[in-house]
């Protein structure tokens, strides 16, 4: 029965493209190199690559939220700070094992995002954006007022906590580096998995037209809600890792809109919003620019602002979007293509 039906269909649904298969091989090689980094490089490089890893993760998450679910949040720093503070609080005040605390940071951020969504989902568009910003400010203010969280000066990671990872500094650096790499991969995996699944298709539909997709039975509210909470949880996890490596957290640093939102948005927009490849490219552009121009302080930030504006006006699809448009390329296969089956002349 099935054979008959399959014979009759002239097309089949394909996921991968030739380019994506080649790219998968390249990616594996690059990953192997990165994993082996601790054994042939120094702490400085590990720190840089770790930073690149967590920025990519944050960018992928923001892209999922804004580029796919249409939820443009300017308040994700709330969950970065939340994850960081949870880690410091659990280890510092409750003497929880550092690994356990890290594992709890994400889910905690996710839980907090649930009541937050009740408030901010009442707003649309740019007002939603500002609303998320207000929420972040609330967290920041609360953190600066609560004594047990260190109030304005924040908290530090004490040596005993660090020694739970290892007493050897080099081993510690390696463990933290590999954990960050792993977490980033994990986050990317979740994003990739979501987009490849039915939910991803729903998201793309919502992104293209919310009323249309709603009329086809896509539960837009539930989809957005799930994405928002999942993103918050992952962001919290990354936040915990970031501050585990920074060793200190304060309201200003933990909830810094410049560090965790402005830079992230820049990466996504430059790289190509609404694409999986974009955040990688945007992150590379940002890091390169920063390494080259950081000495110029405020001029460098002004330049970032100008670049973002120009891209939005002239190439709103970002660098990768331009490539896709020009070459019809997709490295991470999330789309579905119809391919013609080879001719079956058995009939």
């Amino acid at each position: 029965m099935t054979d008959l039906a399959a014979d009759r269909e002239p097309v089949r649904v394909e996921r991968a493209t030739k380019a994506s298969r080649i790219f998968a091989l390249v990616a594996i090689v690059v990953l192997a190199v990165l994993v082996s980094l601790p054994w042939w490089s120094d702490a400085g490089w590990m720190r840089l690559v770790a930073e690149m890893a967590y920025y990519v993760a944050l960018a992928q998450l923001w892209n999922l939220l804004a580029g796919y679910a249409g939820l443009v949040s300017v308040g994700q720093q709330a969950y970065v700070g939340l994850g960081g503070y949870m880690l410091f609080y659990l280890t510092g005040v409750w003497n929880v094992n550092v690994y356990v605390a890290l594992l709890l940071a994400g889910p905690f951020a996710g839980l907090v995002s649930i009541p937050v969504s009740f408030a901010v989902f009442r707003l649309r568009g740019a007002y939603f954006a500002i609303g998320t910003w207000v929420v972040s400010e609330v967290f920041s203010l609360l953190a600066s007022l609560i004594l047990v969280l260190g109030a304005g000066s924040g908290l530090s990671l004490t040596v005993p906590i660090l020694q739970e990872i290892s007493s050897d500094r080099d081993v510690r650096d390696t463990v933290l580096y590999l954990m960050t790499l792993g977490a980033s991969l994990f986050v990317f995996g979740i994003v990739y998995f979501l987009l490849r699944s039915r939910h991803g298709l729903a998201l793309t539909a919502i992104r293209d037209s919310e009323p249309a997709s709603a009329s086809l039975g896509v539960n837009t509210f539930r989809t957005k809600f799930i994405i928002y909470v999942a993103t918050a949880a992952c962001t919290g996890l990354i936040g915990g890792l970031i501050f585990l490596q920074k060793l200190r957290i304060s309201p200003e640093a933990g909830f810094s809109i410049n560090d965790w939102t402005v830079v992230v948005i820049f990466m996504v927009v430059i790289g190509g919003i609404g694409t999986l490849e974009g955040p990688f490219i945007g992150m590379l552009v940002y890091i390169v620019l920063r390494e080259l121009l950081a000495d110029y302080g405020t001029y460098y930030l002004i330049l970032l602002g100008v670049i973002a504006i120009v891209i939005m006006l002239k190439a709103p699809m970002g660098l990768w979007g331009w490539v896709v448009h020009r070459f019809d390329l997709q490295l991470f296969p999330v789309g579905r293509r119809l391919a013609l089956k080879p001719d079956q002349s058995k009939r």
Partner: protein, 288 residues
């Protein structure tokens, strides 16, 4: 009496918040544009006034004669030259472009003026107060600001409901497509709208600069306060924005009375509570 004082101070505070909000309300109402850099333009106006005051020796109030036209032109050119192009691209372009502008203004001010605090000095009026029976003191300056807020809204209502230009603004706000078919040049009207919004932003910036110290990074919180006033009051109603500002001011005053460091937080929490309970604000008008 303590409570009466809180109510009065809070209400007067609402005046400056309403002034912050006018520009935001205008640009959203007419062009559906939310200017993320709005707060930074308030601060920018303060710095422009500072330059004028230091350069000409004028007092801040008089400097408005220069600051207002300058900011009008800034708004007109910005809309005409840049923001008009973002209006047809959906949600992201206006948001991200104004975000970029915000970063540019903040860092430009930082580069030009340094990270220091500044203030505009107007003189004795800053601390003068009226002494009312029942040991209630009302600051003259906050009262002045409140009066300016009322005057501003009243004049805008006059513009919108009794002039041909206002009629055109309302038409464009209703249906930009048909407005153009009736002979309205939308692009020019949008530029005019932002110019007018900047006029009130400039006034707010100068008054704010007299009342409080400011620095290049003071923009975002102004945006948030303006935004909260607009949302609490309800989109589409300027008088509603005044009420929203008053509610915000009172919430903050209550918080401050409990503990001065809780002032801003109290405002945020009141905003979030109202948002959950009355998502369309207290006096919603727009259908959008």
């Amino acid at each position: 009496m303590q409570w009466l004082n809180i109510l009065i101070q809070g209400s007067l505070l609402g005046g400056i918040y309403a002034l912050f909000a006018i520009g935001l309300s205008l640009s959203f109402g007419i062009m559906r544009l939310v200017n993320i850099a709005h707060g930074d333009f308030i601060v920018l106006s303060g710095y422009v006034a500072l330059v004028v005051v230091q350069g000409t020796g004028l007092d801040p109030f008089s400097s408005l004669l220069i600051v207002v036209p300058v900011m009008f032109i800034v708004g007109y050119v910005l809309q005409r030259g840049l923001l008009n192009q973002t209006l047809s691209g959906g949600l992201l372009p206006p948001l991200l472009v104004t975000f970029g502008i915000s970063i540019i203004i903040q860092n430009g001010l930082l580069q030009g003026f340094g990270a220091y605090d500044h203030r505009l000095q107007e003189g004795p009026i800053e601390t003068a107060s009226l002494h009312l029976p029942g040991s209630i003191d009302i600051g003259v300056f906050p009262l002045l600001v409140f009066a300016v807020a009322i005057l501003s809204i009243a004049s805008l209502q006059f513009l919108f409901y009794r002039t041909g230009l206002g009629r055109a603004f309302r038409a464009v706000s209703d249906d930009a497509y048909t407005a153009e078919l009736m002979g309205i040049d939308n692009r020019k009207l949008y530029a005019l709208a932002l110019g007018i919004a900047m006029v009130f932003t400039a006034i707010a910036g100068v008054l704010f600069g007299i009342r409080t110290i400011f620095d290049p990074a003071a923009g975002p919180i102004r945006l948030i306060l303006a935004f909260e006033a607009v949302i609490i009051g309800g989109l589409g109603s300027l008088w509603g924005t005044l009420v929203g500002g008053i509610v915000l001011g009172i919430a903050q005053s209550v918080g401050a009375a409990l503990d001065p460091t809780w002032q801003i937080l109290a405002g945020h929490l009141a905003f979030l509570a109202i948002l959950i309970v009355r998502p369309n604000g207290l006096f919603p008008r727009t259908r959008d």
